[in-house]
Symmetry: C2
Subunit: 375 residues, 2 copies
Amino acid sequence: MLWFFYIIYSNYIKRGTYNMANVTILGAGAMGSALTTPLRKNGHNVNLWGTHLDTKIIDQLKKDGTHIKHKCKLEDGINYFYNEELEEAMKDADLVIMGITSDGLASVFKKAIPYLKEGMVVGSVAKGFEYDLKDKDKVIILPDILEELLPENLVGKIPFVFVGGPCKAVEVVWECPNSVDYASKDIEAAKYMRSLLVTDKYNVGISSDVIGLEICAAMKNAYSIGLGMAEGFKELDGKLNNNCKAALFTFAVAEMGVLTKAMGGSYSSVIGQPGVGDLEITCEAGRNRILGEVCGGGMPGTKAIKKMRDEDITVEGYNAIKFAWELIPQLEEKGVLDRSKLPFLQALYEILFEDKNAYDTIVKVMNKCTGFDYE
Amino acid sequence: MLWFFYIIYSNYIKRGTYNMANVTILGAGAMGSALTTPLRKNGHNVNLWGTHLDTKIIDQLKKDGTHIKHKCKLEDGINYFYNEELEEAMKDADLVIMGITSDGLASVFKKAIPYLKEGMVVGSVAKGFEYDLKDKDKVIILPDILEELLPENLVGKIPFVFVGGPCKAVEVVWECPNSVDYASKDIEAAKYMRSLLVTDKYNVGISSDVIGLEICAAMKNAYSIGLGMAEGFKELDGKLNNNCKAALFTFAVAEMGVLTKAMGGSYSSVIGQPGVGDLEITCEAGRNRILGEVCGGGMPGTKAIKKMRDEDITVEGYNAIKFAWELIPQLEEKGVLDRSKLPFLQALYEILFEDKNAYDTIVKVMNKCTGFDYE
């Protein structure tokens, strides 16, 4: 009889909304550490593990609970782990959240694999494209990377949940209201992850559209560089170009729709938080916009990106443009895309990689995209 | 034989892209006067007529060509007319553009009616809702007002063209690139108006969706007040709420879609320049956003609007919220709308007209609208 209660009890613990779960967050950077706030507010047991790049962050967190990037204290009661303590950090996890940037995702996930067990849910905040691990010429989205890395005995047994939508990490720590989407092929897994994180401020919508969410997550960075160019034009003659920026915003949404459709995703993500919402916040400030502003102000694309790289600034949208550009022939070969439907993306590629003049090129985009048939 | 050439010639003059047309702009305010720039660049004969409110503007324009609102000179060769010179200003017009704000549109159009002739095209930059002239309890869109005012002998003989999309007037004067939509039930009329105004900077798309364009034009002001509230929250505790603003942006687009659909408009306007594009520019700055910021910062809605009115500041979005709120029962009666699909609009009404606390109300909107089924 005892085993019967045990099964009910353990299941209750695992999926129950109001019960304590064990959550391990891999990566103590801005977003990984921010998610400790709603998790601790909901009373879960939270392990925050830092990569080798996060040692100073973990040092300070252990010392006085302050996160040196967020410049404020995190919630009490979080368990902190250094890079070499991965096994301990992963022990008994119900939910593992990959709080890792796209370029580090595969390597960290590989390290975590030995500690994954059937029934665990894996969430990821990483966004974007990558080269296929099996075919270095092929561009795929990050969810495919995680699926590929999973060892045979765990295939189909570890559901993945991906996070999209506008979400500045520090505002999560501050408990400002937000709204994000959790997308998964396994809706129950997405709902489970939501049940652990959702609060009256951290709002979560559920979606089955992993592809659309990922395409938007990557491309909103790309197009925000373009919107930044309109902001940068004022360097040329002192005149604001708000009309141009707003029009480009609309074209960006349309082209995210073209790419999402070609990849097999849903338009609902494009007009939802992952698309429109995340584009809005991304074009207001940040590194993508800065790169755009610099180019819009007259600096050639290759010089502008070199300057930012010399200052150790990663511009995600720049990589997204390159990946998307390489993805186009793959999609054309499949017969699901016509590159003439992406004039804004083409312009961004030409400005950033071929040093075409930003102003003249954007003026032509405005001519071409106005009244353009994106269908 | 001569009459034959005359017909061909006069038609050519009238509809030809590269021929001089006579264009009369009624209203010398920001937008009316701005449209003189693309028209003069294209070599048309332009008459700019000022209402009784524009006398000082016309004075200065006649003196040295400077527009006192734009603080710069307009193009050379524009003919300026005072309020009492309407007949002369309207003489031989091929295109009449109503550069009048929504509250003055009907009265100015009535004055212009005696000088309208079959074959003239009438464009309008005024946007929004109004009470039906025949039924003061009924809310209708401005295009319906113009249609209603037309005397019987001109019904069906004067095509109307409506302008939507992001367009700060002064940027048109500066010749910064923009993209707007011209919508008309008579597509040829919209194309004709475009042919007179389009330049390499002033881009014009053509649309048949008058209803969607007008709904978006009005509601983008309304929702921008809500987006401004998220900006204002920083007054409460010093914390930015960019996540909230971006999420609300997405809900605003969704609700513009709900209203547009209920009114019989097209979703293409909502995700195009009149909806997404114009919302983007409107929420970045301006009077609607300011009202929202003030409420978000803690001032009760009725006090905030009184303060702005005392300073003689018209907030178009405030009126749009009221009109939309009164429109709801009309649409419910027709069975084309369920008001529960407009939670953000309801919140704005409650904050502005019933003094509900902005922060608490918006937090509830975020809870309700996340993952909300807007279909």
